[in-house]
């Protein structure tokens, strides 16, 4: 099959970007979307042109490094699918595709389709963890975890940190990502001692990073490759409210905890 691609090209963080059109010829429906880009790039390289830069690593839908907005859809048209798992059979011969990077102030473009998502790491660093220094743990079965709680925690923990939720949200909100981490740790007994502090610290950091707010569009859930449900956002709001209103003050806050 043959396709026409309009691809966002941008030399670096500060450069002005623009769209460039490429023809993709003789594409096999069995190719993955990224393999289709590989083919185009091979051609560009042999012409001595710079290949299209795009992020990827595992190419099996688990590392969360890939991500392209295809005709306005983060990760493309297919439900519960990362860009790397998208296959060309999801498109038709002659299709025109517009390829854009994640667009959000908190995710600056650093080249072509590659953005900088370190804001997510900083949100995790602010509180997305359980303080359990190595060697201090009790036996794995010392604290029982009801199966439903473990399953729910796993649903939330399935997040791969790809950022598609931010890319797709009309408000560029990171609520789904943050809510998923808060829910993952919040469903487990081990996560309770830091539950309030985690919610406050992560939400504060999320705001500082300049993500947008949530008006409950639900677009994030729709594009999420791991189908993280927005119920978790409601849950985060609840946790935040409880913490903000009733949490006992943390006197040692000064020393960074």
């Amino acid at each position: 099959m043959n396709l026409t691609l309009h691809v966002w090209r941008q030399k670096n963080r500060n450069a002005e970007g623009g769209f460039v059109t490429y023809e993709a010829r003789g594409i096999s429906p069995d190719m993955s979307f990224l393999e289709m880009l590989d083919v185009i790039n091979e051609g560009l390289i042999l012409k001595g042109e710079e290949p299209i830069a795009f992020d990827h690593d595992c190419r099996e839908g688990i590392c969360g490094q890939c991500g392209v907005v295809i005709n306005g859809h983060a990760h493309g048209p297919r439900k519960a699918t990362t860009t790397c798992q998208l296959h060309m059979r999801s498109f038709n011969d002659g299709d025109e595709l517009t390829l854009e990077p994640w667009r959000a102030g908190a995710f600056p473009v650093i080249k072509d389709l590659i953005v900088d998502r370190c804001a997510f790491d900083r949100v995790i660093a602010a509180g997305g963890f359980i303080t359990a220094p190595t060697g201090t743990a009790p036996d794995g079965n010392a604290i029982l975890v009801p199966k439903p709680a473990a399953d729910r925690a796993m649903d939330a923990a399935a997040c791969i940190g790809c950022g598609a939720c931010v890319a797709a949200c009309p408000n560029s909100s990171a609520m789904l990502f943050v809510a998923a981490k808060i829910a993952h740790l919040g469903y487990l007994p081990q996560g309770q001692p830091e539950r309030e502090r985690r919610a406050l610290a992560m939400v504060a950091r999320m705001d500082e990073e300049g993500f947008g707010t949530c008006t409950n569009h639900g677009e994030c859930e729709a594009v999420c490759p791991k189908q993280i449900p927005i119920e978790f956002i409601a849950r985060m709001n609840r946790d935040f409210a409880k913490a903000a209103l009733f949490a006992p003050r943390d006197r040692t806050a000064a020393d960074g905890g």
């Binding site: 667009r103 370190c118 900083r122 660093a125 705001d207 639900g218 409601a234 409210a241 943390d250």
Partner: protein
């Protein structure tokens, strides 16, 4: 780059600020204000809609209702104060949240497409201000009478019917009610989500409530301008 994150340590404990400041300052706290004031406004329009319907029982009935509203000034002004605060709070939250979101995407997409976001949810930021404009006009129109062709203090029936007989005014009312429909259709569901009551987008109590609320309230409102246009309600 996250070596930047590493060079500066990150606050792992919430800063010591007053609880109120923490809530009003955060995007989630502002959602709470939005929702809380949304509840008040929603509750008001239910009652208001019901009161308006007395117009069909005739001039006497609705004028009596209007008079009743005014019997205890303290109560009247109390209600007005709450309403005013709610609208102001609602608008403040709207501005605070919207500014955050606009800042959050300096450069937009060339192609935009939606999988899930509804027309109602995407137009909240337009239906809201339109409602604000409507309220202002509406107060000048039927409460103070400033912009009313033949305002008679106390004669609610006359003011209403005479006021809405002017076609473009009636149309404006109807359009405004269309906006209200969209606004509460998303808003009332959204409220639950914002207040932390997890509710699936479909097949949930919140969704049904929002739908029914929209039909009843907006239906109850628009029927009046329509009735006037249709000549079912005449000036005596």
């Amino acid at each position: 780059m996250s070596s930047a994150a590493s060079t500066a340590a990150i606050a792992q404990s919430p800063a010591e600020s007053s609880r109120l400041a923490r809530i009003l300052g955060s995007s989630i706290g502002q959602k709470f204000v939005m929702a809380a004031t949304g509840i008040v406004l929603s509750a008001f329009i239910v009652g208001h809609m019901a009161g308006n319907l007395t117009v069909f029982k005739g001039a006497a009935a609705i004028n009596a209702y209007g008079a009743a509203l005014r019997r205890i000034p303290a109560l009247l002004w109390g209600v007005r104060a709450v309403l005013l605060l709610s609208v102001l709070g609602h608008i403040w939250a709207y501005l605070a949240l919207s500014v955050k979101s606009w800042r959050a995407r300096p450069k937009g997409y060339k192609v935009t497409a939606y999988k899930e976001a509804s027309f109602a949810s995407r137009t909240m930021r337009w239906t809201g201000p339109i409602l604000a404009a409507f309220i202002v006009y509406h107060l000048l129109h039927l409460t103070t009478g400033t912009v009313h062709p033949s305002f008679r203090a106390g004669d609610v029936y006359h003011n209403l019917v005479a006021g809405l007989r002017v076609t473009w005014v009636a149309v404006f009312y109807i359009v405004a009610m269309g906006c209200l429909a969209l606004h509460v259709f998303h808003g009332v569901w959204s409220m639950f989500q914002s207040l932390g009551v997890s509710q699936p987008r479909y097949e949930s109590f919140a969704r049904r409530l929002a739908t029914i609320f929209t039909i009843i309230v907006v239906g109850g409102f628009v029927i009046i301008p329509i009735a006037v246009l249709a000549g079912l309600l005449k000036v005596q």
